[in-house]
Subunit: 357 residues, 2 copies
């Protein structure tokens, strides 16, 4: 049996909130009045109320609901590039826009990114000070592709203050903003207000169906709505995503500290097993990357065995990185449903297989 199939056969998992099924949308719609009017091309109470709610959460004047973060963020960078009349924007080498969007930013806008710092670490204040002239600096909190790392609150504030002083616009890729608030011991507003524009996602830690919010000033959002129309993102009805976003926002917004605590516990136990380690060693959000020593073939075989014997899913995929194989864990409701006893069994088997080989 292959890794993916064995993972799909598990009923409990370290990652996520459970299978992505149609039931997720059905649950969100269960208590909605069938007569509630749809949003129509960005108008109507349904969308306006949610946009207002998110603008208030983030402490910005206005917010725009988008079908995707990809669309929202490209548009944010385009608006800042136009405003500053400078097609150079700065972001981390492993920024979503650089590696997951088929170069949409470059192909659709001719925007040329300046990569800040190195791929395998966070950007630093020194990196930012060394930047050439750019219209906008994008920060991603947490930096997902390196395991979900965060700058200290102090470093973050120093970087933001410097950018403001230099007239560089600040955009936050806050796809997982709520997930980092327990670490910063801050409100969404306190972090979001450091930036000129902020994007948050509804299907990561919150576990919705899809959709994103882009927040900023009134003028910024006015422009964002025009670009949303240009992109074909101004759908006649976005309510399937809005209603599910709101439903799971309410359901999970206050669970982020728990997810973070469980992530730290899991990481501590996993790091105690020779041959297994997490990045970062102590998670700063609900996310960490999990590295197994060994070849992909060997590790897959070992994990399939544990999936089958414990019923706990550890990894649905592995990416070979030098001498280790890596996967990503985002702690959510699934991990919370695993009993201490079941976890003990899993750790024992992992130890047996990886440490004692």
């Amino acid at each position: 049996m292959d890794l993916r199939t064995s993972y799909q056969g598990t009923t409990k998992r370290l990652d996520g909130h459970g299978n992505r099924t149609v039931g997720i949308l059905q649950e969100a719609l269960q208590t909605i009045d069938a007569d509630q009017p749809s949003d129509i091309y960005g108008n109507g109470e349904l969308i306006k109320t949610f946009e207002r709610k998110m603008a208030d959460l983030l402490g910005h004047e206005d917010a725009v609901f988008f079908p995707s973060g990809t669309m929202a963020q490209q548009i944010a960078l385009r608006i800042w590039s136009d405003e500053q009349d400078n097609r150079h924007v700065a972001y981390h080498p492993l920024c979503h826009l650089e590696i997951h969007e088929q170069d949409g930013l470059k192909e659709l806008h001719g925007i040329e990114p300046v990569l800040v710092g190195e791929a395998d670490r966070l950007m630093t204040f020194d990196d930012v000070k060394a930047l050439p002239e750019v219209s906008c600096l994008l920060l991603e909190l947490p930096q997902r592709e390196i395991g979900g790392l965060l700058p200290s609150r102090e470093e973050l504030e120093v970087i933001c203050a410097y950018a403001r002083e230099k007239g560089i616009r600040l955009h936050l890729d806050g796809a997982r903003l709520l997930e980092v608030l327990p670490y910063y011991e801050a409100s969404a507003k306190e972090i979001a207000q450091l930036f000129d524009s902020v994007y948050i996602s509804f299907y990561k830690g919150l576990g919705g169906v899809a959709g994103a919010i882009l927040a900023g000033s009134e003028t910024f959002c006015q422009k964002a709505r025009i670009w949303k129309r240009r992109y074909g993102g101004d759908l006649i009805s976005l309510y399937p995503y809005i209603l599910s976003a709101d439903h799971y926002f309410e359901q999970r917004k206050d669970h982020m500290a728990t997810y973070h605590a469980v992530a730290k516990q899991l990481a501590r136990r996993l790091n105690a097993i020779p041959g297994i380690s997490t990045r970062p060693l102590e998670p700063v959000s609900n996310m960490f990357h999990l590295d197994f020593n060994g070849t992909k073939r060997d590790v897959e075989e070992q994990l399939v065995q544990i999936h089958q014997s414990t019923g706990i899913g550890i990894a649905g995929y592995l990416v070979e990185k030098g001498s280790v194989c890596a996967t990503e864990i985002n702690v959510g409701d699934s991990a919370l449903s695993i009993s201490d006893e079941e976890l003990e069994t899993m750790f024992r088997q992992l130890t047996k297989v990886f440490a004692e080989g």
Copy 2:
């Protein structure tokens, strides 16, 4: 009371399938197994099965599900422009891309449209023959903004044959393709196969929530999927739109001849009233535009009165065009629910107000 409010208070209407409410999505999900897996970034049985079904319907090799037609059509024109290395595309002066998309095609792609013919009539074979070199010719069937007009089947075929001969790519804006098949007495495939790429919509005559299909060759669709990712249209989950598209496709695809017949009946009766006329005089699909002689203020007042006394909605909005005020009617399930007696009352009152007023 204003026109919009009085219209919203009506329970039966000449236009559409009823109010756009959350119930439309809830109905489509009612019989779906809660455990059915979501599509994931364009993959998975749910999206692949529907794309295959639509490719077969349209007689093309492949099809891609998009959140919107705006996104799908810009991408089609970009692909043909790149292929032909020519940024000029040709379309009608009232093409959706020209008047409803905030110039997305120009702003995102630098594509320069050549407007074919005149705004108030269909483009002709002579107009097409007079074109400069273009990469692609977009035809919209029916031409919505002038009441839903269609070229004869013969004219359509002559234009398409000429474009093919000249190496001009042909794209069909078939948002309402199913709606014109009864007039052409043709299958979707017979019309769609005249074109290199075809877009159809699921929330016009079909009455779904949102979403579009773009069909073409395998190579074309491969490129379209890359652009869909670039646009941020490759959502992690598009199933809310796919499931509702499929549900209402099955429910309404065979009703188009009925909608067309009712549109013709309504138009005949409306044209018999002095001061009221339809464009076209005899509808060629379920659509027609409805013109009332008079100023906007007067016509609104008269329609509010009829809305209130009959409970039948005639127009939710009016656009002033010279000496007339116009609205658009797309016959659907709503008109079918009005009894002959109720219609008689409505025609009597319209006659009284507009002819004898």
